[in-house]
Symmetry: C2
Subunit: 508 residues, 2 copies
């Protein structure tokens, strides 16, 4: 008999956790996808009010799980309790934000062009809007057991768009996933939605995820995780007879540039804030500042010594999984052995936990191997002599989620080339502050040029994420009453619409 | 010496046309792409007013070419003069429409979330907008030498978005392409734009198109043409170290369903209108109604006989190229030899031109081989006994650009399954009328699920097309004056923005 169950592992102790969770069988997986497909039409036709009720109920149910889900996530991930409590609140708020977007309704981007039957070639009545794609597969991420997992942003945005969701639970936190799934399933039941609107699949290997991605009824995939994982899904999706979009958020070292004035302006608190951003959540954040640009010379030296001292005082953290721990060891060894690299922190790689590490390399000895993301609390400072040198390296970097500049405001006009390079290479550019801590809202962009994400045009965080799971559909010369409510002349939903090229909430 | 020039061919006579056009050399191609890349930053920063001036100037220049470009297109494509004059007006209007969109400016979808520094974890100032991707390669299409070629919709939308464009001219109309390119290049010069903002490449083979698609400086590809061509470009773009989007519009048979009441409602004019839609422009339209669903029985028989009679009276047309003519012969032979298919028109395949053809097959004998697009004036009528039978075939079809229903309005509530199938399979659904004649405006969708297009979410016609050539970029905590004008608090551009979740033109 093959192993058909698996267990979470406490990363702090290596202990295998009770209970065992069954791996979803092929037959069960097929039934889950079929149920999602069967729910597609009914769910696509639900009103924004119904979807909003559903998402709000899921948020309430999730919060009601409070202590239980935080305790389980703590056991399965080793992340600090305060971080997990914050993440739970963020996840519930995210569901509520998408509930508001669904309820308000303008996200469908309704467009109406009035007919002109008197024109020589009569002009038709054309009306279009965004419609949901159909069943979406969401992969839970290891590093956010709540906010980027079962009930996370991808799920919230797909459900808000009107797509049934099938989650592939991350095998590192099965118990947390079971609880979060229950919150959504109970909400669906309360709202009288078809059962297939949400499903979840468990597997500690790769088979189920690939089967889902290749399933002909699945219309899109959302993934946050490793570059290898994201690329494997992308390849599978492209090889389908009917390719589908894969929104994978994969890899980023988040270049963070300090000018001499930026160091001065940051003052005493800057080194500590940077150390926190490097090592917070064990550095296991996609926006962790892994690549720093620091001026050569004594001021930069002093700054980095200060950062290193704070990192040395930071207790070693527990990484999420054995696999991540091993990759961290390999990655930091790789940095350490690169020509020209020197260690600033005193940490040694440890078998039990991960001590934060800071390295330095002269810009002239930087090579592309040093821009590979090492997931965990490690950063590399590139020491530059002049801004052209730093700019030229940033121009050569792969696509990034973020790029940050610490400078004096008065310097900005002279830093045009650097700013252009940052904007070219990243989805979010910051002036001051640090790239970690992604604000969930309307204006945020959590995406960026490949390989930060596979579809560099969009975002996986914030309300714009909803558009990923939609396509445009036009209706020509349909009777008004046969149209979806957002396109009917009266605009009873009071959504913002583009009518003959003018945005308005007026009836047509 | 290799052949380094090529000539257009008059498809009506097979005569090779003067003059010969040089094939763009590899070195020239490289210089054109480098110039586009060099123009990227300057052009991306131009105001909507400048881009609008540029596009309007291109429209004026194109119209000024009037007789000359129409005469050349007529010679190179064999399309009727009236059609080409209409296409020229449409192409100029399309440039002007995108000029207005660029000038108005709200298309950048500016979003501003106000900061809250008093919050426990301070909320940052986040502002985002759409920014241009960089150099875009546009492939001219054979069937629209003006509207989907050098100065067509893809070029207009990419230029409006702020992307330099490199066109790969279609080898079937090089002279027309030279003239249209001159209209754009002169406009760029008049507006003082960098030379690289527009370039054009000539090749009568596939090499240049592939080189462009694989070029690391190219950021997106737009294509209208054959399925084989589109898929080859898609594959090349996906195999790049950094994949890029390919917006290919490829293949569609545009299912058109007639209910018995729909036939009645259509009255005497319906057969003639359908015959025109089947055979207009030699049937060489991506929205040509290639697959009809007509009820079994005498009324359907009579209707199809009427359509066939009109098609038989329609003079044979000249197809665009020898290749298209050969494929039309192969395709119609394939339909004719399919079990259960009978010819309703009396046309025989001809060597000199293409006579419109209409075939019929019982729904029970329809197989997927019959849904392959045959480019040219041919349609196949599937005869159904009840609507469930027709609906089930439509559900099984590949993705389509359009789907059309001829029915009585009172029937619509009972046709839910059919309408759902049509909406699921197509990007534009029509109630009455015919799918040919795509209106250029704000609400139109010219796109659809794969393989109608490679990216089923969008449109290649109408103002929404501009978003294809953009990505989202967020600025966090930047000084107001360092931001792009659309994101500055004062909103001097007066664009519609999402400020803290509310759409408004007010200053922040």
């Amino acid at each position: 008999m093959t192993a058909d169950t698996f267990r979470g592992v406490n990363p702090a102790t290596g202990e295998r956790l009770e209970p065992a969770y069954p791996v979803t069988s092929e037959a069960e997986l097929e039934a889950i996808v079929q149920a999602a497909a069967a729910a597609t039409r009914v769910y696509a036709q639900t009103s924004g009010a119904v979807r909003s009720e559903f998402l709000n109920a899921a948020a309430r149910n999730l919060e009601a799980l409070g202590d239980e889900i935080v305790a389980r996530a703590l056991l399965e991930t080793g992340l600090p309790e305060a971080r997990l409590r914050g993440e739970l609140a963020r996840t519930a708020n995210q569901l509520r934000l998408f509930a508001r977007v669904a309820h308000e309704g303008s996200w469908v981007e309704a467009r109406l062009d009035r007919p002109d039957t008197a024109r020589t070639l009569p002009k038709p009545d054309l009306r279009s809007m965004r419609v949901p794609l159909g069943p979406v597969v969401v992969f839970g991420a290891s590093n956010f057991p709540l906010a980027f997992s079962v009930a996370g942003g991808d799920t919230a945005s797909a459900l808000a768009a009107g797509c049934p969701v099938v989650v592939k639970a991350h095998p590192a936190h099965p118990g947390t996933s079971v609880l979060a799934a229950r919150a959504i399933l109970d909400a669906a039941r309360t709202c009288g939605l078809p059962e297939g609107v949400f499903g979840i699949v468990y597997d500690d290997g790769y088979a189920a995820g690939l089967t889902l991605t290749e399933h002909p009824l699945v219309q899109a995939v959302a993934f946050t995780g490793s570059r290898a994982g994201g690329l494997a899904l992308l390849q599978a999706a492209q090889a389908r007879p009917v390719p589908i979009p894969v929104y994978a958020e994969m890899s980023s070292v988040n270049p963070t540039v300090f000018t001499p004035s930026g160091l001065e302006r940051g003052g005493n608190g800057l080194a500590g804030a940077l150390a926190s951003s490097i090592s917070g959540s064990g550095g296991q954040l996609c926006t962790q500042p892994g690549l720093l640009f620091v001026p050569s010379g004594p001021k930069g030296d002093a700054f980095l010594r200060d950062v290193a001292a704070q990192l040395d005082r930071t207790p070693a953290c527990t990484l999420l999984t054995r696999g991540i721990h091993d990759a961290y060891q390999r990655g930091t060894n790789g940095i350490r052995s690169h020509p020209g690299v020197t260690a600033i922190t005193s940490a040694q790689a440890s078998d039990m936990g991960a001590q934060a590490q800071l390295y330095s390399v002269p810009a002239g000895q930087f090579t592309p191997t040093l821009e590979a993301e090492v997931f965990g609390p490690v950063s590399l400072a590139v020491r530059y002599d002049d801004m052209a040198e730093a700019t030229s390296i940033i121009c050569s970097l792969e696509g990034q989620l973020t790029a940050t500049l610490h400078a004096a405001p008065a310097e900005l006009p002279a830093l045009g080339d650097l700013l252009a390079a940052m904007q070219d290479r990243a989805g979010r550019v910051l002036f001051g502050g640090f790239s970690t801590g992604v604000e969930v809202g309307h204006a945020v962009v959590h995406g960026g040029p490949f390989p930060a994400t596979t579809v560099g045009a969009g975002t996986s965080v914030g309300t714009h994420a909803i558009t990923r799971f939609t396509r445009l559909l036009a209706f020509q010369n349909f009777p008004d009453e046969a149209l979806p409510p957002a396109l009917q002349a009266a605009n009873l939903l009071n959504v913002l619409r583009l009518v003959d090229g003018e945005w308005s909430r007026e009836p047509m």
